[in-house]
Amino acid sequence: MASMMSLLGIAVVLVGLAARFNPLLVVTLAALVTGVAGGLDPIAVVSALGKAFNDARYISVVFLVLPVIGLLERAGLQVRARALVARLASVTVGGLLATYLAARQISAALGLLSLGGHAAMVRPLLSPMAEAADESLHGPPDEARRVLVRANAAAVDNIGAFFGEDIFVALSSVLLIQAVLQQNHIIAAPLRVALWALPTAALAFAIHAARLAMLDRRLGRPAAPPLVQDRRQ
């Protein structure tokens, strides 16, 4: 029965998210509840939390790019990225984002996951380029339109990375798949795992490229109704 009690942590996450509590609080509380309900003493739970947080610091090393990105933004990087696209008058938002999607998938499949990212590529380059493409085709955007274009710039970075990286043998996801299967006494060659990520990669590109073509049609429509509700107010 102790093991079923450990599921309480999942309930904490669900309720906490539904109630829109701060995710930091929800996650920490879920960890403490899970550990204690699972029969560990509170000190051991806090220690496990601390050890895992310390071991996972490699995740946050990406923030090391922020000083140089900030300096370049200060020197007009986004302005330049915008100017570059404004000159190519026929580029559409969907076309630009589909090109980035393909490049992101291919580079991730070659193991070059660090070629993209929201801090290093989307904010300084891709999002201003997409906004410039929209503006040069359809004139100054309203807020809803700007939100839609930016959100789609972020989306292609995620989708390209997720459905590209599993094709590369030496990245952590393929290695994790192999390791977990091994724990379950199943042998799987990493190369075969990577290979069978290809059908989904192709499918994801086809689906999202089609949706980006629809996005272009939607952006091209004159006097469109509000595209995305701005919930900030």
Binding site: A2, S6, L84, A120
Partner: protein
């Protein structure tokens, strides 16, 4: 041997700089919260290994309390005006892209070349952490190039870093915290409990039910955990290994690949994933905008994955 701790030290220095400049920002009413939050993050990166597990755990809990309850103030460090940026962009032209390109190319060359370099039989760089170390080295090199090229005032780099870091705010530690939650879940046996639960409910003789449960379970559990890597061991031990491979003789490589990719569909739809939280902050978007842009693709790919797995996994 250069270990990953060198990259952590660089990151620690950046966070410490951000904390110091936060403390002096009198325009921010919550400046001590900002200083404490980034200061503790710096401490974790600089001396986390020496602190011990319990102290690290206490550090995490204090950061969570400061970040979630105290709140990080939104700051507007002085930066250039739009007119100055126009002028600077016109002056530098495409050369502005150079430092940005240094980062991935250093990472690429480092990842390929560094593992081969040995000095009197000892690897120059810890081979397990080459990617992270190369990335950190690339970022440092790019910063050096930008400093030499642009010659900004001395405070510009830390202040610009603070401008961006504060826009990410408390969300900066969520990915690490989710990894920690996964570790506690594993320790408490959540995986077994979920597996038991599913095994009890699942009809034992249906291949389609097993495949659909595995893929949908990966997506749902990833949405709860914010991370497909945490969901994968749970669902694979509970459903994938015993049923799809064990009972029905499915192919483990196909199951693993498509299972993980089903989890990624969940990542695209959850407010818990840093992949959705960080761009929402960095691009100044309303909550949910990134997920709305991704969700239709995620749902369609998930359905496609279930079909692909059902068609392929029992055939190879």
């Amino acid at each position: 041997m250069i270990r990953v701790q060198a990259a952590y030290a660089l990151a620690g220095i950046v966070f410490a700089g951000i904390a110091a400049f936060s403390a002096f920002d009198r325009a921010n009413a919550k400046r001590w919260n900002n200083a404490a939050f980034w200061g503790l993050f710096a401490l974790s990166f600089l001396i986390g290994d020496a602190l011990g597990d319990l102290a690290n755990g206490a550090l995490v809990i204090v950061m969570v309390l400061v970040g979630a309850l105290g709140g990080i103030g939104v700051t507007r460090p002085a930066t250039t005006t739009p007119a100055q940026r126009e002028a600077s962009a016109a002056r530098w032209g495409n050369r502005l892209f150079l430092p940005i390109l240094v980062i991935p190319f250093t990472a690429l060359i480092g990842t390929l070349a560094l593992p081969r370099i040995e000095i009197s039989g000892v690897a120059l760089v810890d081979p397990k952490q080459v990617t992270v170390i190369s990335m950190a080295f690339g970022a440092a090199l790019a910063l050096a190039l930008a400093l030499v090229m642009l010659r900004p005032p001395p405070a510009a780099a830390p202040q610009e870093a603070r401008r961006l870091m504060d826009s990410v705010g408390w969300a900066a530690i969520l990915p690490q915290l989710l990894a920690a939650l996964g570790a506690v879940f594993a320790l408490a046996g959540v995986g077994h409990a979920v597996g038991d639960l599913i095994a009890r409910w699942l009809p034992g003789d249906s291949r389609l039910a097993a495949v659909a449960t595995y893929c949908l379970g990966m997506a749902l559990f990833t949405m709860i955990m914010g991370n497909a890597f945490a969901a994968f061991p749970v669902l694979t031990a509970g459903v994938g290994a015993p049923l799809i491979v064990g009972r029905f003789g499915g192919d483990a490589a196909i199951m693993g690949a498509l299972g993980m990719l089903s989890g990624y569909c969940g990542t695209l739809m959850t407010p818990m994933a840093s992949h959705n939280i960080v761009p929402t902050a960095l691009l100044d978007l309303p909550p949910g905008a990134v997920i709305r842009a991704q969700a239709p693709t995620a749902v369609l790919v998930l359905i496609g994955n279930i079909v692909l797995m059902y068609v392929l996994v029992f055939r190879f």
